[in-house]
Symmetry: C2
Subunit: 192 residues, 2 copies
């Protein structure tokens, strides 16, 4: 009975910490574990008991954000003209990147190199499938590997978040800029 209660308490604390962390990091990419613990209504010792380092907490929040994003992206219609499907996928993906912009910066800062991209495995696999279909229909270029095209999309999209942060573009400009850039970059050479 005591064990069950302790377990339920732990689960409640973890949920409260993750919610508070998502909220704090979403407002300030540099939010400290002290602020997060305070917002979650738990002590720092409790927080560190569940997440031994700030990086592990940022990682867990990011994993959760990707999972939430996957639910949205899973509903995007990827049938029909691959260029139109890519445009729809970019719009939905950008909306997520924009929504989680501060968290993305926190993750890029706190997690080891390559980890942010690694955590994007599912959304990147979806892009890969769409690009493969477009390649088989001669709509997207085949002179470069699909994995390279996927990485270009990833980097251009996340670069747009930095451009907004730097005040060089607005959030509304990003999706059309990204779409115009990637459709051109993915078009087979020598065709329109």
């Amino acid at each position: 009975m005591a064990v069950t209660t302790r377990r339920a308490d732990a689960q409640r604390n973890i949920a409260a910490i993750l919610t508070a962390a998502a909220d704090c990091l979403g407002r300030d990419p540099g939010a400290s574990t002290s602020e997060i613990a305070k917002a979650a209504g738990v002590g720092r010792v409790t927080l560190y008991g569940h997440f031994p380092s700030r990086a592990e907490l940022v990682d867990a929040v990011f994993v959760q954000a990707i999972a939430t994003g996957e639910e949205t992206l899973g509903q995007v219609d990827l049938t029909g003209d691959p260029r139109d499907a890519l445009t729809r996928l970019i719009e939905s993906s950008w909306h997520l990147v924009d929504q989680y912009r501060a968290l993305l910066l926190a993750a890029q800062d706190a997690l080891p190199p390559g980890r942010v991209q690694e955590l994007h495995a599912d959304p990147m696999a979806r892009v890969e499938r769409l690009l493969e279909r477009g390649r088989s229909e001669n709509v997207f270029r085949t002179d470069l590997p699909t994995s390279w095209l996927v990485s270009v999309m990833h980097n251009v999209m996340h670069g747009a978040a930095s451009e907004i942060q730097a005040g060089r573009i607005t959030s509304d400009q990003a999706a059309p800029y990204i779409t115009a850039t990637l459709l051109a970059a993915f078009t087979p050479p020598q065709s329109e």
Copy 2:
């Protein structure tokens, strides 16, 4: 006299620390200040006296690498067909990104968000001038801002470093992939 000697000692130490840091971070992006102090033949107290944090040391090494790179890039022929000039500039720039790949990862990890791009102000201004010329000659697209196209080049090029790190492309493939991607992305829509 004593002051002059101390100043000369300090300059020698700073030079030794920067050389050792460039060497250590070039081999291992996670190299510690202890390793760097040891390689420089100075104590940690001396190192921290000149560079109060690891981030400040990484920043200083990166500033030096950019300055060295600028000497190389200043020699690239940017006259003639803007597409050919961009191809030459990408090749030289990529060679530098590749050479400083480990240092770039160290900087992305240790420096605050946006700082790596900020330190690229000079190379990015050179790209901007070339793109502006290509736009005025109707060779590069004008439906997107030049600053956006510069950021796309920056992100695609640095993304290639991550792709190599992840083992998905080789160093030799990078320059042609980057060139093929950017020339397509920068071509005016509706033209070849």
